[in-house]
Amino acid sequence: MSELEHLLVTEEDLDDKEQIIDQLMHEYSDDILHLVYTYVKNRVVAEDLTQEIFIKCYEKLDQFTRRSAIKTWAYRIACNHCKDYLRSWHYRKITLNEKILDYFPSKSVHVEEEIIAKNEEESLTQAVMNLPVKYREAVFLHYYEELPLAEISKVTSVNINTVKTRLKRAKELLKDMLIKEG
């Protein structure tokens, strides 16, 4: 019944909850925003989603069991929220349509970017952002956030061995992409 005991909280805790979210935003909001951007590749959408994620954290704070670090817990909420978004009707119908438009030569901002993207940093980033989402999340959490594999497994709800395999595969994909680019 530890869960029930954990729920033994009084009204005063509401202020605490607000403070916890404040703290969470103060410490991790940029990291979470970057994580979200890695999924959605759009700055405004990333900001909107991040806002929603912190509200969700507030709503779900009672379910936080302290078995993991609050950072891991918040990242997990963020990951799930992003995946929900990518699966959503809005994203699939509206955003994807816009994306298809982008492929027309007249709107080829991306093509231009690709040509300009000569320096190493840009081509590496671009290669990462072009990875399929399951590899992209693993690469971001491993190389950018530098989370241990066990954490990545917790955050993404993916088995640790699968994480390893995905990282390996991601590296191969990245190598191919970068070699093709020359």
Binding site: M1, E3, L4, E5, L7, L8, V9, T10, E11, L14, E18, I21, D22, M25, S29, D30, I32, L33, H34, Y37, T38, R43, A46, E47, T50, Q51, F54, I55, Y58, E59, D62, E120, E121, E122, L124, T125, Q126, V128, M129, V139, F140, Y143, Y144, E146, K171, L174, K175, L178
Partner: protein
């Protein structure tokens, strides 16, 4: 090649994430939303007995909303009389809190107790003050 990956953090910081920060306006918007949720809290908080009455209606088998509402009247729980919408709000919230789970059968939504929900009912029946407190909290939570 691996050197290049070690460079990845720096590379992404300089390019994709350049100037990408969660602005203070955005943070304020989150705080506003939380404040809004807290004030809602007082608007509708359900009586403990009402929540338990609802949970008890689905204790033995899953039921759809209208059946729950009828059963509540039979149990002399008139909280939702002429205000059935509130029942659905409560059901929905309890579902969100994973106290209830639901299933669609023949275009009707059937609710049943989750393990967590059963714990609450059991705790309420035992009636220790500690557990009553937890239920009180659940209600506060439920109205979020």
């Amino acid at each position: 090649m691996d050197n290049r990956f070690n460079n990845l953090k720096k590379a992404m910081k300089q390019t994709a994430f350049n100037d990408l920060t969660f602005s203070s306006e955005r943070k304020d918007a989150v705080k506003e939303a939380i404040k809004g949720k807290q004030s809602q809290l007082n608007l509708h908080s359900w009586k403990e007995s009402t929540i338990i009455a609802v949970l008890e209606t689905v204790q033995r088998e899953s039921k759809h909303g209208y059946a729950i509402s009828t059963l509540l009247f039979q149990k002399n729980e008139f909280c939702f009389q002429n205000n059935e919408g509130q029942l659905y709000t409560l059901l929905h919230l309890l579902e969100n809190k994973e106290i209830l789970s639901s299933k669609w059968i023949n275009e009707k939504k059937y609710y049943s107790l989750t393990t967590r929900g059963k714990k609450y009912v059991a705790a309420y029946k035992q009636g220790s003050t500690k557990k009553l407190l937890s239920l009180k909290h659940l209600m506060e939570e439920a109205s979020l």
